[in-house]
């Protein structure tokens, strides 16, 4: 029996709806776009949570006290993506990293674009590289650059 012909069709999975991002996530995304500023939020235990959470991770109470944090920080862990997949924003080897931004008490996940795995380590100092045209999304930060060991 001949193997049946397989229908091939490209299909793009995407969100077909829009929604308001609300006062917490909305403020965070707006600050990225308009002020090149990263915002955190004060949690019930006094920690600054970055990115800001709408609800306290311990008490589940709504949170509202937004605070500025730096766009510079320290790498706390990283993985090295040797062969980026189609959707990755950086199409040459790069790192996904957890970054403790100065002024924050939790880690922020983003990309570090440093060309070579040997140029990043836990403890590396990094700084956000901002997009020229920003639209209020996480990718308003293109990536983080390594500024020091």
């Amino acid at each position: 029996m001949n193997s049946p012909e397989i229908m091939q069709e490209d299909f793009s999975v995407h969100y077909t709806y829009t929604r308001s991002t609300g006062p917490v996530i909305g403020d965070f995304l707006t600050a990225l776009r308009d002020k090149k500023q990263i915002l955190g939020i004060k949690g019930s235990d006094g920690r600054t949570l970055v990115p800001p959470m709408e609800f306290d991770p311990i008490t589940t109470e709504p949170l509202s006290e937004m605070v500025d944090v730096s766009d510079q920080g320290t790498v706390t862990s990283f993985c090295w993506v040797k062969n980026p997949i189609k959707h990755h924003h950086i199409q040459h080897p790069f790192a996904f990293a957890t970054i403790r931004l100065d002024g924050a008490d939790t880690d922020f996940i983003h990309m570090v674009d440093c060309g070579d795995e040997a140029r990043i380590s836990v403890g590396s100092r990094v700084k956000a590289r901002w997009a020229d045209e920003r639209s209020g999304t996480m990718t308003d930060i293109v990536a983080f650059d390594v500024t020091g060991a």
Partner: protein, 352 residues
């Protein structure tokens, strides 16, 4: 509350690409198979519950097509979870415990081959903070592994030992995907894939389907000689933001394990749903399983990892091993989400 017992379980051979065989065809073969093997009729099932993910098919309500495999006319009592089949089992167990049903058929299925699984699964992340970065599943797990290594929770050799054992155990399992003899040295000599993970630290991509029949112990004894009682079942979830959790431990597994009564009697073996080698070590610790406990005698998810069925498969394999007489009491675990976010623990025991 009433007890619940596993009657039978069956899975399709695990395959990297089922080609023109679609989800419905995979399901039909195992559902008909398990029904025939158990000497029951589909109409004997008081409740049907399934687990799958529409993102794999890339179409809303794709799971509805799969219901054809159980013939929903005349109308049946049926439900679906957009989760692994292990959570469909959880819903079915509640139905039986509360007296709403005396029996249930559970299935989980996933055909991952048509899409890019790493990208598809990144859509399960927070839609504002993480998904736009396309933090794929392997990169997220690699960050977790990096933190475990940095903290000294485990070593790369420990991870390789997990893979070596998984593939050796899988040699005795029919229809699995990855098996064979690999030494720790050999595995450590492989290049990294998404560093610190090597390709073999990651579960394979698998197409497949699995089905299970459960019932009250009375009914289960009518249908089979060796029902396996689910003596404990619990599931717990953690924050959707991986950065708000300590990724070097699995607190939700620990809590679920305690609630399910894992440590109340000796554990002989465990089937742990760890799609990445380092996660198996975290799970073992969270459940308090010492070196005397056989881990993943089936090879686990590193040998075959059907999306939305691999958790149910752990429970199914564990039940089959108790039915075969190899063990009398064991733990089965299922996970869901990024970096062990959501965990289910089941304790299975032979009927004495």
């Amino acid at each position: 509350m009433r007890d619940v017992a596993i009657v039978n379980y069956k899975q399709t051979p695990a395959t990297r690409d089922s080609l023109a065989t679609n989800e419905l065809q995979m399901l039909q073969s195992v559902i008909q198979g398990v029904i025939k093997e158990s000497g029951v009729e589909l109409s004997d099932m008081d409740f049907v519950c399934s687990g799958s993910c529409d993102y794999l098919a890339g179409a809303a309500f794709a799971f509805v097509e799969a219901i054809e495999a159980v013939g929903p006319f005349p109308p049946i009592k049926e439900s679906h979870v957009e989760m692994d089949g292990a959570w469909a089992l959880y819903e079915a167990v509640l139905k039986i415990r509360t007296g709403e049903a005396d029996s249930a058929l559970i299935y989980g299925f996933g055909k991952s081959s048509p899409g890019d699984l790493r990208s598809v699964l990144s859509l399960q992340l927070d839609p504002y903070y993480l998904a736009p970065l396309w933090l794929d599943t392997i990169s997220a797990a690699a960050l977790q592994a990096a933190q475990c290594l940095d903290k000294g929770v485990l070593s790369e050799a420990d991870m390789a030992a997990v893979v070596s054992r998984s593939r050796a155990n899988a040699k005795s399992v029919a229809g699995t995907q990855l098996s064979g003899d690999y030494s720790i040295e050999e595995l450590l000599a492989e290049p990294t894939f998404v560093s610190p993970l090597r390709m073999h630290d990651c579960a394979p991509i698998t197409d497949g389907a699995s089905v299970m029949i459960i019932a009250t112990p009375e009914k289960a004894r009518q249908w089979c000689d060796t029902p396996v009682v689910i003596s404990g079942l619990d599931n717990r979830i953690e924050s959707s933001m991986p950065t708000l959790r300590d990724l070097t431990v699995s607190r939700s597994t620990e809590t679920a394990g305690k609630a399910a009564g894992v440590g109340s009697k000796p554990v002989e073996f465990a089937e742990l749903h760890a799609p990445f080698s380092h996660q198996e070590i975290l799970l073992q610790k969270a459940l308090g399983l010492d070196a005397s406990v056989d881990i993943n005698p089936s090879g686990g998810a590193l040998a075959a990892n059907t999306m939305m069925a691999a958790g149910l498969d752990r429970i199914g394999h564990a039940a089959k091993m108790i039915q075969s007489g190899r063990y009398t009491r064991g733990v089965a675990h299922a996970t869901s989400g990024s970096c062990l976010q959501h965990n289910l623990v089941a304790v299975l025991e032979a009927v004495s």
